[in-house]
């Protein structure tokens, strides 16, 4: 169906269901309960899940298939963001032109960067991409201040030209919209003590994510995708088989650059702002972590990795000492303080520490990432089903999100 085989179609279907029902799936705990802080079903975070999902899906087309590890992909995300914000300043607050131009501009930029960086492979390629990204960051931060707004970044202003939009009423702020539907508008549904938020921006981003996920599946299963895996496997054999690995690698680089630009454009579509920190090397490193954490070269892995990291960033960093004290209040006082003090470095601003530990554990014990973990659990369940006939359907591997 849709040109996919049964297994891929099923995967697409599951991902579609999960993203469409995300406001429910990510909000399993009732409002006001002690566990409510683990709910991830609020618009801001859900948008980030899908946008970084797109970023990681694209990155995986380059890194997962060809094995070329780019350490500068945030540059394309940033360039896409700047392009999108300029569309919002000059043309219209409608998100469609912003997103399209973001993809195109990031694509053109990645042709240049890719053409130069791909003259080398391995660690030298990584360093070249990193250098490009840091140059882009510096350009955005200081040199190109008139275009990028320097340190403070850019936002749509009331008095921007916006050729296609009619003039705003005095005092109104420009809001990103899709043919009039504001990206910020939400519909809230209350069922009992549960509160579910359906945000327009999230659904726009989610649909774009599903389209790019579908496209990624097609690329993975195409002759082109097979050639990219051949690039990773043995470039020498490729050459002596009559294939030129260079244009294949460059094409993969540009495609992943366009995915990054798409993610950058969507970010602007959601929050109408951009700053140079979006291009900093830590942002490039983050997408590498996402891809490896989820499972390099797998279809769903990067999305899971993006979800896991963004979840930790937003949820663990919200936990503070008071919350820890309330968790461990059942313990005797001295022990409670000890445990709180021991846990403290890993929460709040220390969430990176937790991420580091999780990352190390995954890389050491599950080199295939979360996807491998899910496969192992599924395998275990299957074996149990065969021998004992215990059907623990509820214990099915639920991807960490």
């Amino acid at each position: 169906m849709l040109g996919l085989n049964k297994k891929d179609f099923l995967l697409l279907l599951i991902v579609t269901m999960l993203t469409m029902l995300a406001p429910f799936v990510l909000n399993p705990f009732p409002e006001g309960s002690a566990l409510a802080q683990f709910n991830a079903g609020y618009p801001d975070l859900m948008q980030r899940f899908v946008i970084f999902g797109i970023f990681a899906i694209g990155f995986n087309i380059l890194f997962g298939l060809t094995g070329y590890l780019s350490f500068g992909h945030a540059a394309f995300l940033g360039v896409g963001s700047y392009a999108a914000i300029w569309m919002m300043k000059l043309l219209t607050m409608n998100v469609i032109p912003a997103i399209i131009v973001a993809v195109v501009v990031a694509g053109l930029f990645s042709v240049v960067v890719g053409f130069i960086s791909l003259r080398r492979s391995g660690i030298y390629f990584s360093i070249l991409t990193l250098a490009f990204a840091m140059m882009s960051y510096q350009l955005a931060y200081s040199v190109l201040t008139p275009i990028t707004g320097g340190e403070t970044g850019l936002q749509p202003k009331v008095n921007d030209p916006r050729l296609l939009d009619s003039a705003l009423v005095d005092g109104a702020t420009p809001t990103a919209n899709l043919f009039g539907l504001s990206m910020r508008s939400s519909y809230e549904l209350e069922i009992g003590s549960w509160l579910f938020t359906f945000n327009a921006g999230y659904y726009v981003a989610a649909v774009v994510m599903l389209l790019s996920f579908y496209l990624a599946i097609r690329i993975f299963r195409s002759p082109f995708g097979m050639m990219l895996r051949a690039v990773k496997s043995n470039q020498n054999r490729m050459k002596y088989t009559g294939l030129n690995p260079k244009p294949y690698t460059l094409a993969a680089f540009v495609i992943s650059g366009m995915y990054a630009g798409l993610a950058g454009g969507l970010m602007v579509a959601m929050d109408s702002q951009v700053g140079p920190e979006r291009m900093f090397w830590t942002a490039s490193g983050e997408v590498v972590l996402m891809t490896i954490l989820g499972g390099v070269g797998t279809l769903i892995g990067p999305v899971l990795g993006a979800g896991a990291i963004k979840y930790m960033e937003n949820i663990i960093s919200k936990i503070n000492t008071e919350i820890l004290h309330s968790w461990f209040s059942f313990l005797p006082d001295g022990l409670e303080d000890l445990i709180v003090n021991l846990t403290y470095p890993f929460i709040g601003k220390g969430w990176h520490l937790t991420l580091g530990i999780v990352f190390m554990l995954v890389v050491i014990f599950l080199p295939g990432g979360l996807v491998e973990g899910a496969q192992r659990i599924a395998g275990l369940i299957r074996r149990k089903d065969k021998s004992g006939g215990m059907p623990p359907a509820s214990a099915k591997a639920e991807p960490a999100e």
């Binding site: 002759p223 051949a230 054999r237 030129n244």
Partner: protein, 252 residues
């Protein structure tokens, strides 16, 4: 008029004359062996034929067209395939994918952006790949990862990858290096079988005299960078110059 004509090829590495005025004429549909002691320049010559090295002077013509200065993939597209000393395959891909990739290369050229089609809808190429695997008795292993094959099967797979492109010329660089006698004999049989079934020219670079004399229809002897003898196997066997250079005077 041979299919591959090498004339006046010289190659120097610093002070070492690796190839000195080499002339070769490979006749279509023959198995031509190039032999010679270690350091005679066999590998250098082969590398000059496939675009890995550029000779200092001389010319290499394949099918009437110049080969020198072209990139390896362009030379392959002209109809020259190469089997390596240690099999070069796509270890992480399945056996079937390994054989399908050369089919795509042959049909679509060095690069094509076929990112939206499915590999498995290319029935014609899949059939071609499966039939060559059947020919070489590897069909039951088609779903295996190529890296998991035995050494002999890897060689067989590499051969399949070359043959599926229906090359006009197949270059083999010590195809039996490091093999046990039984495997060597299997490879000889395989090559003979291939030769019988299709019109193909082969150039074999080989160390092993047993292989050379059971396969070759014509032999060129390379010593210290130049061809010192050329002819039918029985002539080469008796040639005193060859025995001198190659065997240090001992009788074959």
């Amino acid at each position: 008029m041979g299919i591959l004509e090498v004339s006046g090829v010289n190659k120097r590495f610093g002070g070492l004359q690796a190839l000195g005025d080499v002339n070769l004429d490979i006749v279509e549909n023959t198995i031509h062996a190039i032999i010679g002691p270690n350091g005679a320049g066999k590998s250098t010559l082969l590398n000059c034929l496939i675009g890995k090295l550029d000779p200092d002077t001389g010319s290499v013509m394949f099918d009437g067209k110049p080969v020198l200065g072209l990139a390896p993939h362009q030379i392959n597209q002209m109809g020259i395939s190469r089997v390596f000393q240690t099999p070069e395959i796509f270890a992480e891909l399945t056996v079937l994918e390994n054989v399908v990739i050369p089919c795509f290369a042959k049909r679509d050229g060095p690069f094509r952006m076929h990112a939206y089609e499915s590999v498995f809808h290319e029935n014609e190429l899949m059939d071609k790949a499966e039939s060559i695997l059947r020919d070489l008795n590897m069909h039951m292993k088609k779903e295996m990862h190529a890296g998991a094959l035995s050494r002999g099967d890897k060689r067989r797979l590499e051969m399949a990858m070359c043959l599926v492109q229906e090359p006009k010329l197949l270059l083999l660089d010590e195809p039996t290096a490091g093999m046990a006698r039984a495997d060597t004999n299997n490879t000889i049989d395989l090559l003979k079988e291939i030769k019988e079934k299709r019109d193909i020219t082969m150039v074999v670079i080989e160390h092993d005299m047993h292989v050379v004399f059971s396969l070759a229809e014509k032999i060129s002897v390379l010593a210290q960078g130049s061809i010192i003898a050329e002819g039918l196997p029985q002539d080469i066997k008796g040639n005193p110059k060859v025995q001198e250079a190659y065997l240090g005077g001992a009788q074959l």
